[in-house]
């Protein structure tokens, strides 16, 4: 905790917007009240989340150090900042950056904060935010004040709120755009920020803007509300509007957003978002957070009914001048260059490193003579010195602005082409000249087990390792492989966006004879382009340490067998999931701990792996083995469901997925030696009694969510499924089986059997 905390308020007086200053004062008071026990844990937790102050791994005061789970002896063990969250435990501060836009002064303040309050690193997220890790809760008001002094708020960066509004970082300079969406994203972000109609959501609400329908820069189809720019000509006049998509989201089970309205006129954008917020606040689930995202409401009501309700709501809204006041300034918001347009003098003896960088990191803008430069950040990390250098570069070559991207990079727009070589040299001075933007080397990873409480496997460790190995790999240099995307999530929650990658991975764990081992589910067939046009499905879990070999094997096979012009997705479709799985089967087989202990540790973490306080029972092996066998059979069934879906046999796919869940539940009942009637009804009833009502099956963070998947599948058994709902059911079956594995890891067999 900083000695200067008490002095920033006075130091920055008059330099912070009055409303924002009051909000931060109020938050500081709430911190003081909480310290004195005057605020309930849950309320304070949501309060700080709404200010972007998040929990971090081990903040319950327990950590497995590789030998045993030990208590972290914080100085104030009785003081908490939320349920089961210790006051002194470091946390994460998320900083909202609407549309990813930052100026030079803001970059410098972020650098200062990273050095003084965090670990010297600013981390760019897949939502264009910046995160600081290992931050003390009592430092957060100072952080917020310093940010506010340069026009940044952390308000509603977390919690059940409208999260950072993202937008294509090329907007305004993109060759394919309908128009620049930046001013619309900005207007909507600040209109919804703190709006009374957005304060009573059951879950978060994510918004994205794209300037076109084809490129993936904004991923609108994975959002609750996605807006794609469009123009139309009416009576010779060009009008601006948006194709509006709703109800998308990744999370545990991904949903593709549905087209809500074709061409919503620009003046209707803000009121429609407001009306949608009201409907979501009024009708969205509040008690069960696992079904509280808007995607569930859209499915529950049906798109047509949802639309009807939103349009009805729209009619009742009192007119707000902010709906349209920003429109008059839309043209003026366009960023302008600092330098005149230029020409890059390409020399025959151009150094190889510059040529490679130019090929992957330089985008030719729609404005002749200008380019956008992508600054590739390894795993989204940037040092304080680099942030300051970027501020200098932004001042020297462009009009002081940069943007963060959903691929965890930063772009410099409006670089005069004649400056490209100098920009490269300046970036090189601070190690920011790495080529490979938008290629297989440009991996995306969520924080995973490094800092996230939900992490199961080390996503950053894996991504870092893959990055190193791919850089040395000849296969990765081939054009067809080079353009693939790899995305890694530390758990099923998709913060690394694994569903929309060519090669996606999400962290799971497996138990072998009482030893837990980190694994990743391999997700193939996702589509990054067309704003995240399709989601991949998991084909099986591979030990973490074997994922590099998995990537190598898949990419080599694609390289060797692809047909002319065949995309990776088409290749995966053509060879089929069964063949994909067959290709990896030997890698999926897990040797015993005694044969290869290295597979029982994670990347860049020498500790014996655990998802909690692992206990090795005296007769665990004998008891666990049959269970393992049965759960493996369930995984096979879930996979067979995928194969059926691939063939278009939707009924078989749905039935098989449901049966996989049923057999998973049966496996657990057998493991517990519970009594049950051997019928579908009997199994569901016994599972509910033994595992749901007792909460034995509850995931520490997702609660009973995965059991609900099973109950719902049972209720729907025999009913007709459509392709999309069957796809979702298979996802749910896979997650249910993962939860079965998780349940057995949390409950040593001998305890359950006692």
């Amino acid at each position: 905790m900083k000695a200067s905390n008490g002095e920033w308020r006075a130091k920055l007086e008059g330099r912070i917007d009055a409303d924002l200053a009051r909000e931060i004062d109020a938050f500081e008071h709430e911190i003081a009240l909480k310290k004195h026990g005057k605020i309930d844990d849950k309320i304070f937790a949501e309060t700080r989340l709404r200010r972007g102050s998040y929990g971090q791994r081990y903040d319950n005061g327990q950590r497995h150090d590789g030998i045993e789970s030990r208590r972290l002896a914080y100085p104030q063990p009785g003081l908490t900042k939320g349920p089961n969250t210790l006051w002194d435990a470091p946390g994460m501060q998320r900083i909202k950056i609407p549309f990813g836009g930052l100026n030079a002064d803001q970059l410098e303040v972020l650098a200062e904060l990273a050095e003084e309050y965090s670990d010297g690193i600013g981390h760019i997220t897949t939502r264009q935010d910046v995160q600081l890790h290992f931050v003390h809760i009592e430092d957060t008001p100072s952080i917020m004040r310093r940010l506010a002094s340069v026009g940044i708020t952390t308000r509603e960066a977390c919690g059940n709120t409208v999260r950072n509004v993202t937008a294509c970082p090329l907007s305004g300079v993109c060759r394919d755009q309908a128009f620049d969406v930046t001013p619309y994203a900005k207007a909507l972000a600040y209109f919804l920020l703190g709006h009374p109609d957005t304060q009573d959501f059951g879950r978060k609400f994510k918004v994205a803007f794209s300037g076109c329908d084809t490129n993936p820069c904004a991923l609108v189809r994975i959002h609750d509300l996605g807006c794609v720019a469009r123009t139309r000509t009416v009576n010779g006049k060009t009008e601006r509007g948006f194709d509006v998509y709703v109800g998308g989201g990744l999370g545990t089970v991904p949903y593709q957003a549905k087209l809500f309205e074709e061409f919503l006129p620009e003046e209707e954008l803000l009121p429609l978002a407001q009306a949608m917020s009201r409907v979501f606040a009024r009708l969205g689930e509040k008690k069960n957070r696992n079904t509280a995202r808007m995607k569930f409401l859209v499915v529950k009501l049906g798109l047509e009914e949802f639309k009807r309700l939103v349009w009805e709501e729209r009619k009742t809204l009192p007119v707000d001048p902010r709906w349209t006041s920003f429109l008059s300034g839309v043209e003026q918001e366009q960023e302008t260059p600092l330098k005149p347009p230029g020409l890059l003098d390409i020399q025959p003896a151009e150094p190889g490193d510059f040529r490679e960088w130019r090929q992957t990191n330089v985008y030719r803008q729609r404005q002749a003579g200008y380019s956008t430069v992508t600054v590739t950040l390894p795993l989204g990390d940037v040092t304080a010195d680099q942030l300051r250098a970027l501020a200098d570069i932004a001042r020297k070559y462009v009009n002081e602005t940069v943007r963060t991207t959903v691929e965890q990079n930063i772009v410099l727009r409006w670089v005069s082409d004649s400056d490209l070589r100098n920009v490269y040299e300046d970036l090189k001075q601070v190690g920011l000249h790495q080529a490979g933007a938008g290629t297989i080397l440009d991996l995306v990873a969520c924080p995973g087990t490094d800092t996230c409480k939900l992490g199961i496997s080390s996503s950053r460790g894996l991504a870092g390792e893959l990055r190193l190995r791919l850089a040395e790999n000849d296969v990765a240099r081939d054009e067809s492989i080079r353009n693939l995307r790899i995305k890694v999530s530390g758990c099923f929650n998709s913060c690394g966006q694994h569903h929309i990658a060519d090669l996606g991975f999400y962290g799971v764990s497996r138990n072998k004879n009482g030893y837990a081992a980190p694994h990743f589910q391999v997700v193939l067939g996702g589509q990054w382009s067309e704003n995240a046009g399709a989601y991949g499905l998991a084909i099986g879990a591979v030990p973490s340490k074997r994922i590099p070999e998995t990537v190598d094997r898949i990419t080599r096979r694609y390289l060797a067998e692809r047909q002319a012009g065949e995309s990776f997705q088409a290749f995966i479709r053509r060879i089929g999931k069964a063949e994909c799985k067959k290709m990896l089967e030997d890698l999926m087989a897990m040797p015993a701990h005694s044969e290869d202990a290295s597979l029982y540790t994670d990347w860049h973490d020498p500790r014996e792996y655990t998802i909690g306080d692992m206990g090795v029972g005296e007769c665990a092996g004998e008891v666990v083995t049959p269970l393992e066998f049965q759960l493996t059979a369930c995984e096979r069934e879930a996979f067979e469901a995928q194969l059926a879906l691939e063939k278009g046999d939707i009924d078989v796919a749905a039935r098989t997925a449901y049966e996989a869940m049923l057999h998973g539940a049966t496996a657990l009942l057998n493991w517990r030696r519970a009594f049950y009637t051997n019928s579908e009804e009997g199994i569901v009833e016994a599972f509910r009694r033994e595992f749901y009502d007792t909460q034995l099956f509850f995931d520490p963070f997702a609660g009973g969510k995965f059991a609900h998947y099973f109950f719902r599948a049972h209720e729907r058994a025999g009913q007709q499924y459509l392709f999309e709902s069957a796809h979702r059911l298979i996802e749910e079956a896979q997650l249910f089986i993962e939860a079965c594995h998780g349940c057995t890891l949390r409950q040593p067999a001998q305890t359950v059997n006692a």
Partner: protein, 176 residues
Amino acid sequence: MQHVNLKFFARAADGVSTSEAIPVFHRWIQNASCPELLIDVADYSHVPAGPGVLLIGNEANYSLDIGRSRFGLLYNRKAADAGDAQSHLRLAYGAALAACERLEQEPEFVGRLAFDRRELEITLNDRLLYPNTEATWTSVQPEVERFCDGIFGAGQYVVRHEGEPRERFRVNVRQI
């Protein structure tokens, strides 16, 4: 003098990668090897000229650091401590030196990594209390020199105030 950061630079680090500190720092947590409460290890070895690998503690962080491309051991005192400037400087110096000695003896580094005790860098990690200005240097110089007299002997070292105004207050001390 709050939030003292003190760095010893590596004299020899033949082929040593900061990532090699990961298992070492995990062991330090297991063995409670430092006086501070040790929490976790953060790996930034992939970032050029960055913080390297950090051993995150409650009161302080230790890191095998490559900031400004100089390999070294950095001790970052995070807690606001009671006491005077000399006690704060001595605490940071003692903790950093002990960590250097320990690292040099670790199996991963023995014979490969050695720190130079004749040069150190002191950073005051709070821009509000210690902006990187001549005024700050004037105000802290007597304390810094008193401390360095005790380490190297009066007149046996050179202190240089470094960095640009945007950076944190920093001095480099080198034994003559």
